[in-house]
């Protein structure tokens, strides 16, 4: 299972005032708020944590079919920061693993259920994608093969990702 979230940093500056009174308190746990206040660039930390929550929620929603809006229920931890940021997001009894790429233009996070799956995620073009009765997208191509995909669109960017191990169709 997979989820992803892209944030266009130009778009987020137009759409959201994260410094607005109450905004941070509604979304982030006390520990996450500490990460933001201690960050060199608080804006990037806000959207890094937000994209982790969004990407993890997509996996949670796919797994449980539960639809809810409670950002504080998705509890982020940052495990390592190198070229990419690796993290985990806890939601109820579930833990999801995330990997985020931050560029000056955007922040893109992928989330999976098993840590090892982070290496199996690839970006694909938005083609042959259909949605099931719950509005959850999957990739359908050649014969009767279907495959989980996650789509995220924000501002100038659209990212579609899938797990390579889920099917062999992408190797063809």
């Amino acid at each position: 299972m997979i989820g992803n979230d892209v944030i266009d940093l130009v778009q987020s500056r137009i759409e959201s005032n994260w410094r607005r009174k109450g905004f941070i308190d509604k979304i982030f746990t006390p520990d996450e708020q500490m990460l933001i206040s201690n960050a060199t660039d608080p804006e990037i930390m806000v959207w890094l944590l937000w994209s982790m929550k969004e990407a993890a929620y997509k996996v949670y929603n796919r797994q449980t079919k539960i639809r809810e809006f409670n950002p504080q229920k998705l509890v982020c931890s940052i495990l390592s920061e190198n070229n990419t940021t690796t993290g985990s997001v806890r939601c109820s009894e579930n833990t999801y693993y995330t990997q985020t790429v931050i560029t000056p233009e955007n922040i893109h996070t992928i989330a999976v259920r098993h840590f090892d799956d982070l290496d199996k995620v690839i970006e694909i073009e938005n083609k042959a994608i259909a949605k099931d009765e719950n509005g959850i997208p999957f990739l359908t191509e050649v014969s009767h093969t279907v495959q989980d995909v996650s789509i995220s669109h924000h501002g100038r960017f659209e990212k579609v990702v899938t797990l390579t191990s889920a099917s062999s169709i992408l190797n063809k």
Binding site: S16, K26, F69, N70, K73, H154
Partner: protein
């Protein structure tokens, strides 16, 4: 809406129609789907129908708190995905005042 009405605007004695009208004004700046906004009903879903991004859903909740002078906790926020539920939650909060 006549000016005199706005002057005497009291969120504690609002009927449902007034409440939805007030909510609709709050939602307006955040929606990107004008057609769905113009045809808004109780069944309208903030994300699926009005294409409101989830970060802006936080703004809507903060605006509701400020406009109606109520506090929306996480348990209420969790369900606040459509007009109907938002109205229910605001009505409950106003009745508790």
């Amino acid at each position: 809406m006549p000016v005199s009405y706005l002057k005497n605007f009291n969120t504690n004695t609002m009927n449902k129609e007034e409440l939805i009208a007030k909510l609709k004004l709050i939602i307006k700046p955040y929606t990107t789907n004008i057609e769905a906004y113009d045809n808004l009903t109780e069944e309208t879903d903030f994300i699926n129908d009005l294409s409101i991004n989830s970060a802006n859903l936080v703004d809507i909740i903060l605006d509701i708190e400020e406009t109606f002078d109520v506090v929306i906790d996480n348990t209420d926020m969790e369900r606040m995905l459509d007009v109907k539920t938002a109205v229910e939650i605001i009505e409950t909060k106003l009745a508790q005042k």
